[in-house]
């Protein structure tokens, strides 16, 4: 790289790009020979392949130029030229990133598909028939419980995923958490359990009727943990009734 005199052609190139002409840095490499201003112009017009032009020496030469002439240089012109240099770097960076496969990814394909569950309906009915046929055969230990563990307390037909669904419903209603100072002490689980016990009644109620006040996401998680602990201790009960999951106070031990 070498510095050369500023030419009218360079001014034209800079003007075409819409910024102040860059400093007089001469570039000479296999892919391009000319001034920095001309390089900008050629890249903009897609006349050369930037991949063949090493940009690191150009940046170095540019910074040297800025440092050497910092006393009498127009700061705005230097900044504009810097932006142009950044533009070149960005263009080259994008070119250097490996091209992804042109095939649309799975998510795109999924968006293009119209739901076709109705067309699967006959197969589903056939599966139901198979299930009915199977129900006429009794094997030794035919009905598996579906759980590899035994709960130490009775939740009736309510499963873990049912409780998870209740938590999800609460989370949908929850407000975002507020930022609190780190010194604010968190309520203990025992304190939270007392709050939950006060909210519960002997009459089984759906969760919407148990938790009526507003809450944040972390509050609802804390609330739910306390509820689970109460269920585990037998102080709260959860049951399926009338198509919904109902919570109530348990028997006090």
């Amino acid at each position: 790289m070498s510095k050369q005199s500023h030419t009218a052609k360079d001014d034209q190139a800079g003007g075409l790009l819409g910024f102040v002409a860059p400093p007089d840095i001469h570039i000479e490499c296999e892919a391009f020979t000319g001034s920095l201003a001309m390089l900008f112009h050629c890249v903009k017009e897609r006349k050369i392949d930037l991949l063949g032009v090493p940009l690191a020496p150009i940046c170095k030469a540019y910074f040297e130029h800025v440092l050497q002439e910092s006393g009498d240089q127009d700061l705005e012109a230097a900044a504009t030229a810097m932006t142009a240099l950044a533009y070149l770097l960005e263009r080259k960076a994008w070119q250097l990133i490996p091209k992804v496969d042109e095939e649309p990814d799975d998510d795109d394909l999924l968006e293009q598909i119209e739901p076709y569950i109705q067309e699967l309906r006959p197969a589903i009915e056939h599966l139901r028939d198979l299930r009915d046929e199977r129900s006429l055969r009794f094997f030794r230990q035919t009905e598996e419980t579906g759980a590899e563990y035994e709960l130490p307390f009775d939740m009736g037909e309510v499963g873990a995923s049912d409780l998870a669904l209740v938590l999800e419903k609460l989370l949908e209603r929850a407000k975002p958490d507020t930022v609190e100072p780190p010194t604010t002490p968190r309520r203990s689980l025992s304190e939270q359990m007392i709050i939950v016990m006060n909210a519960l009644s002997d009459e089984p109620k759906p969760i919407e009727e148990v938790v009526t006040e507003e809450f944040t996401r972390s509050e609802v998680v804390w609330w739910f943990l306390a509820m689970l602990e109460l269920i585990r201790l037998g102080q709260a009960r959860v049951r399926f009734a009338k198509g919904s999951i109902l919570f109530s106070r348990g028997e006090v031990s």
Partner: protein
């Protein structure tokens, strides 16, 4: 002691489908001999008595004959959990498209399926079989032996025929037609260029 009787005894005691090779290993005899014994046992049981030999979930198992279903059900009162419509839909999609991700199931149904998937996992009718090597590495689901057993199937090849590929092509065509029929103004494509990706 006859091999057929030994096989019968093992099957009677077993609480899950037995593989002929496992039986052979236990009885210390060649697998083909066990298979012959199984054929003979099946024939013998089919000729009379309340029990039959069936191929189910990749193995052999003894079970009561359907004509005895009513009296047996009355006696043992089995707790049969019904599979809801949404569970059946998700199960069918997993069965036919396995291994399949939740997003793929959602696309076929047009609604979210996370709750149904969790229920099926809990019932051990489906299981997590790995992750798809795509961005996000979503979990892949497939049916289990329990599924085959519950639906009276020996292998997945016994599933009722459905040309899923054809259904998906039809679904794509349908979606394209819908897009064409909408009168939404189309945007001009952005000029090609690397800037900004």
């Amino acid at each position: 002691m006859k091999l057929i009787d030994s096989v019968h005894a093992l099957l009677f005691a077993a609480d899950s489908p037995s593989d002929p090779e496992q039986l052979a290993a236990s009885l210390e005899c060649p697998a083909y001999e066990v298979e012959e014994a199984l054929d003979k046992l099946g024939e013998r049981l089919s000729q009379g008595g309340p029990v039959q030999l069936v191929r189910i979930a990749g193995g052999y198992q003894l079970c009561t004959k359907p004509e005895f279903a009513q009296i047996v059900a009355k006696y043992i009162q089995p707790q049969q959990s019904k599979l809801s419509r949404s569970l059946m839909e998700v199960l069918a999609i997993v069965a036919y498209k396995q291994p399949v991700t939740m997003a793929e199931i959602d696309a076929v149904r047009g609604v979210q399926s996370d709750y149904s998937l969790r229920q099926l996992l809990e019932k051990r009718l489906i299981s997590d079989v790995g992750r798809k090597p795509t961005p996000g590495r979503p979990i892949l689901y497939a049916t289990t032996q329990q599924f085959l057993h519950l639906f009276n199937l020996d292998t997945l090849t016994e599933l009722p025929d459905v040309d899923l590929e054809e259904l998906e092509i039809q679904a794509l065509i349908k979606k394209e037609e819908e897009v064409e029929n909408t009168d939404q103004p189309t945007l001009e494509p952005l000029p090609s260029g690397e800037s900004g990706g």
